[in-house]
């Protein structure tokens, strides 16, 4: 083997991406997204616009109202269902409310749930979920009941029996659920850190863990920016990404591990930047392929036209994209920076030792 032998020649990797040279720049995009998220949230939480808070918190966590419309004498479900639901939804819309979910009940009823946020005059949203506003919300619900009953009688004639009942409900997802979710994710991440530190090195563990946290924050930023409803399925989506994103990162660190071995056996100098760039470029095809395949399935789910499914799939799409970005750019950069810091520290120590000996 000749002296000018380098890692790039040894592995035969073509460098399409220079990761480490630009390591400072990679952090700009995620920081910008987080910043935009914070700004959007702050704007949304100002009183006097059409949004009612920092984030769009769903009925699961905040409570809302549930409207049960029961009809005898004409078909409620079956062929008329779509039209009946549209009718109910339009009345909710007239009152400044928007349906969050709908389901059939029994054989003759439709249940519609909505948030207690009313878009009033001038597009200003008022949150009626507080205890002071409860009575006014009850009044709004009473109006809705009356209007729905009237509308159905106009539509199907006075022979039908129609009963609309709108009631406020409290949150269904308990704080217990959130606590348990946070606890289990926390422990899982800690164990992943320990495993990574043992199988790879501590720096890889730290980089992988910070990428998991980064992905969660980026996902939440998008959720805030696009006002995706925060409900139980979002929690599931977040956990999905925690499990998913580490896999991507570890693939790169697996190459890093291989390349360090190669360097040791060839007695080459360990240059963190070179290792990072080689490893990332070796994994590029695979990382793109895997992310694209997962994105594909999730995107199809999002495009199915069912609101509950797209609400669930959208945050996962953002999470997968963020996971791809952080595993290619951020995690290797962090590893490289830590490694250089370590080398500098060692040189310093060695110098200090020499000085002492003198």
């Amino acid at each position: 083997m000749k002296k000018q032998n380098s890692l790039i020649n040894l592995t035969g990797t073509k460098h399409k991406l220079s990761i480490f040279k630009n390591s400072g720049y990679w952090f700009i995009l995620p920081l910008a997204i987080i910043f935009v998220g914070l700004v959007c949230g702050t704007i949304y939480s100002q009183i006097g616009n059409r949004y009612d808070g920092f984030a769009n918190i769903g009925i699961d966590f905040k409570g809302g109202s549930v409207l049960t419309v029961e009809m005898n004498g004409a078909e409620m479900q079956g062929n008329n269902r779509e039209a009946n639901y549209e009718l109910i939804a339009s009345i909710l819309g007239q009152n400044g409310l928007s349906a969050a979910s709908d389901q059939n009940s029994g054989s003759d009823a439709i249940i519609v749930r909505y948030q207690n946020s009313v878009i009033g005059d001038n597009n200003i949203t008022i949150d009626y979920n507080t205890s002071e506003m409860a009575e006014e919300m009850v009044a709004i619900n009473n109006t809705v009941e009356q209007q729905v009953e009237d509308a159905f009688i106009i539509k199907y004639g006075p022979t039908i029996q129609i009963k609309a009942n709108a009631e406020m409900i409290n949150a269904t997802a308990s704080s217990d659920l959130l606590k348990k979710a946070a606890l289990s994710v926390g422990i899982a991440m800690l164990l992943m850190l320990i495993y990574t530190a043992i199988r790879f090195d501590l720096f890889s563990g730290i980089a992988a863990l910070s990428m998991q946290i980064n992905d969660i924050i980026i996902m939440l930023s998008f959720v805030i920016i696009f006002r995706i409803q925060i409900n139980s399925s979002l929690i599931a989506g977040l956990i999905t990404i925690v499990a998913y994103s580490i896999n991507n990162t570890l693939l790169i660190f697996d190459r890093v591990r291989d390349n360090i071995k190669l360097i040791r056996t060839q007695n080459l100098k360990l240059i963190p930047g070179e290792i990072v760039d080689t490893s990332v470029n070796q994994c590029l095809t695979r990382a793109l392929f895997t992310s694209v395949t997962t994105l594909l399935t999730i995107s199809i789910l999002a495009c199915m036209g069912i609101k509950s499914l797209s609400d669930f799939a959208l945050p996962i799409i953002f999470g997968v994209l963020s996971g791809l970005y952080s595993s290619l750019f951020l995690a290797p950069s962090i590893w490289g920076l830590l490694m250089i810091a370590k080398q500098k520290n060692e040189i310093k120590k060695a110098k200090a030792l020499k000085a002492q000996k003198r």
Binding site: G12, G63, T68, S101, D102, Q103, N104, S105, G106, I111, M168, I169, N170, T172, D176, L177, K180, A181, L183, S184, I187, A188, M189, L191, M192, Y195, R199, F200, S233, I235, A236, G237, T240, V242, A243, Y244, I246, N247, L250, L251, D254, L284, T285, R286, L288, T290, T293, T294, L296, T297, I298, I300, L301, M304, G305, I306, K307, S308, L309, F312
Partner: protein, 450 residues
Amino acid sequence: MQNKSSEKQVKEWHVFSKKTAIILSVAIFIFVATLAVFVFPLNGKDSFNISNTNYDFFWVSKAIKLGLDVEGGMYAVYEADISVFESEEETESALEGTMSNLQSLLFNEGYTEATVTKQGRNQIRVEVPSIEDTEHLISLLGEPAVLEFKDSSGTVVIKGGEHLERATAMLYEGQYVISLKFNQLGTEAFAKATEANVGKTISININGEEVMAPTVNSVISDGNAIIQGNYTYQTANDMATKINAGTFAVKLSPISTASISPTLGQNALLYSIIAGAIGLFIIMIFLIIYYRGMGIAATIALFIYTIILMYLLALIPWVQLTLPSIAGIILSIGMAVDANVIIFERVKEEKRMGGLGKGISSSIQKGFSKGLPAIIDGNVTTILGSIVMIIFGATSIKSFGITLLIGIILSMFTAIIITKLLLNILLSFNSESEKFYALSFKEANNEKTK
């Protein structure tokens, strides 16, 4: 395996002889086809005839249990009799106690995904998945929990509904304790009971089950009692809520019950299955175009993966398919593909780096062994995560963890064992064509196509 490959070996070798390969591929085909037939109903009938005898059987896909969000269930609304309460706060805490009582009751009955919410001013709404008969739901929730104090001989000395005014969590001498306050009748009864039982235990039972058994230290005649134990605020409060729930007789009368369709809408499950199928199909095409021969092996392996997954979901008892668990499945499909891609990329690299001397077969074997650590490390972390979620998570997170765990272990199995088996079978038919395995690297520029 007869793996004696050395770097110089140019002549190809294979793991299986042609004869073995044919037998193996026929056996695999029959096995998979048999499994596949029983996954989906072909004609909707659940029985078949052989000479006048009817044989009933279950379609595998119908045996998979579903959650409230994708299947639906029952709901019931109860009206609580709040006329007996004087203040708003009293009503509030009484309702809260009743609700937590209902929740734990449902949980103990196995309805882990049930929700209990306050509705309006004085109603309680209960929604339970996978339950079909109203009678059962009503009987389940209609009976309030009974609180009883028993002395060491088992005689009931205090009855919750009659004697206890309320239980609260409080800080006492630096420790969280449960403070009991008895009513007039209870004060007298408790004084009598403690007098007779100093130094012995009095047990507190809810629904006939012993919750705790504190030792009586002295006669208590002021109508107050404190139960000490190693409580945190949370456990003391929970216990107090439970005791309260047993004391007040909030009379619940059902005002409406009916079945409900899935909370996610009618077709959520169907649509997510369609999405998964389309996704899987496109991925398979992708794999075949890009990796050709190796892609064919991976595609068959993915197909086998999907079928075995259906069986496992149906057979493993804790699986309840909810939206989160569907996400778990989609994720694990992604990871099954991932493992194949990791290996194939390694195989390509081996072939490219090995130069002309490197044969297809040895590149493939080498690629598998080199890809293995990455696959194992990536999956072990996810397995760790899913086990933690199963142990510590709330119910919906548990079901996500279980499906994810099943999916990942299975995906490792298919990628490492089945894909390799299939590739070895392919190799014994064709071990020469670099084009077939997408492993020709004649043009130097073409080494990394996207």
